[in-house]
Amino acid sequence: MARKRLIAAALATLVLGAAGRAFAASATVEVPMRDPWVPPEAAKKARVEPASRGATLAQEVDRKLRARFDAAAGPSGRLTREGAQAAGLGFIAQHFDAIDRRHAGRVSYEDYRQFLLSRGAHLE
């Protein structure tokens, strides 16, 4: 078994150059390079409806940011600076004072959204 593997490894490392001359390599190529590519089963899952753009893309971005916020905030729907930091949302923690315009010590997704809009984000 070990011997078999050794032979396979030796074969894998003997490669043929463009000039037809063999030279040894210690890098492995397990599959041909074909990028991008998807396996046949995944390829059947292509979206058929038109791609989002304009308002639908903005809504998609809004949903994405909201889902991330909600996952970190939990049922309360509110995040403190420390809560944002602990959840890995460093951006919200860094800009917490600007987001927390009511100085409540806790921010909602709407607070966050208004902050992004004020900086020019396309969310609607």
Partner: protein, 519 residues
Amino acid sequence: MQPLTLRVLRVACIAGLAALGACGGGGGGGASATPPVQTQAYFDGTIYSSARGASLTQPVETASVTHHTIVLGGATLAYTATAGHLTALAPGSGAAEASFFYVAYTLDGAAPAGRPVTFFYNGGPGSATAWLHLGSYSPRRLATGMPRTDAPTPYPLVDNAETLLDVSDLVFVDAVGSGYSEAVAPNINGTFWGVDADAAVFRDFVMRYIAVNQRQSSPRFLFGESYGTARSAVLADLLESAGVEVKGVVLQSAVLDYNSNCALTARLVLPCTGYVPSYSAIAAYYGKASPNPAPGALPDFLAQARSLAADRYDPAVRANMAAGAMPDASLLASLQSFTGLPATLWQGQLNMAPDSFRSFLMPGTNIGRYDARVNVPGTAPSTGDDDPSSYLITPSFAFRITDYLSTELGYTNPSSYTLLSNAIQTWNFAHDGRGLPDLVPDLAAAFAQNPRLKVLVFDGYDDLATPFFTTEGDLARLPQGDDVVVRSYVGGHMLYLDDDARPLAKADLAAFYRRALGT
């Protein structure tokens, strides 16, 4: 197995060019905030595996350090190369996720605060970053001579006059399960073989690199190729969200929506409209368009090809796919004059996939997928790697990478470097509720969090993997005002291998960085 660290001076002083201060670590420094690290070779005895179920139990953050010089435009730049591993840590818990192999090139004597750092990665998914590392903008590159096919191999490694090191520090990092990168238990490599998990662990590598090297105040850039551009879109959003601002993203041969490229979908359910201008560019390269445009007229010719594709071909091919409607003779005649394929071929196969185009354009000649200018006699083999622009270059990259790491960078490892793993076969392509990923919303989310973000896109006209017109269509979905610049050149997927395109792209890069940095 304990890693063995030993110090040698041989590597740094091998060319006899190293500045006195850089050789052996004494003196020097200048404006640098951190003293130069002494040269050290590193024999890393860890055996790395690309198997889906593999993982390491004890990751080690050790690296070789070597000092080098390169002459750029008459000026000598001294730089330090660091090759080894850093461990990505899970946010919150700090648990080790994966041990990333990277090679960093940092300019000696530069103050880190204003000095950009750029993270490079190839795609696949499952590819190591040796292509960008030894082909594009690092201080050393392989002289491939592409699209020539008669260059002697293995290609020689040469100093790279187009290195981006004069502009930015450079970090080339291998994805989990490729190169010498591997998951840390209880994770396995396969834990990170999906769109979301892969981007998240790259985020954690970037944050680890910044923390360990104290680069918190350095402007950050991302440079991904092919699947690496999909990774960049997700990664840019995740980094912004984590509070790690990204200044700029460079997309080399982008695939931003797997649902817009007809070659990625089963049974050609999508129209191949996005490929028609690429077919036209390639026909023009081979002198098969009629009339064939002079080189200077290529942009105008391709503007017309885009119009043909969008305004006339697209409605016709959709009608053909939906109800079998036959295209009119004038469209078929136009397709023939632009793409060089006979009207009768278009009539029988209106939704022309790129592999069909490759087999029809030059009977008796196999033309490349990554770079259709590369051609060899014969027909494409039906199995394995049928792309001469890929299989002709692969052996040299496979041969040179480990030799270079060991001989020039002082990093030696007994395991095989996995240039291409089979991760792609079991990759989880699902993302945000879709079976195939659409990354445009991720890029848009990055812009939403950072309206100052800048994106530079490189396209090769002769690339039949990520066609430029498809990329333009994907980018057109972004809101006006998002700062995206597209630069297109004669060349393939790996545009940077072309000796004419690389200097032009390097000038574009330098201008892009200046603009992003406000300098």
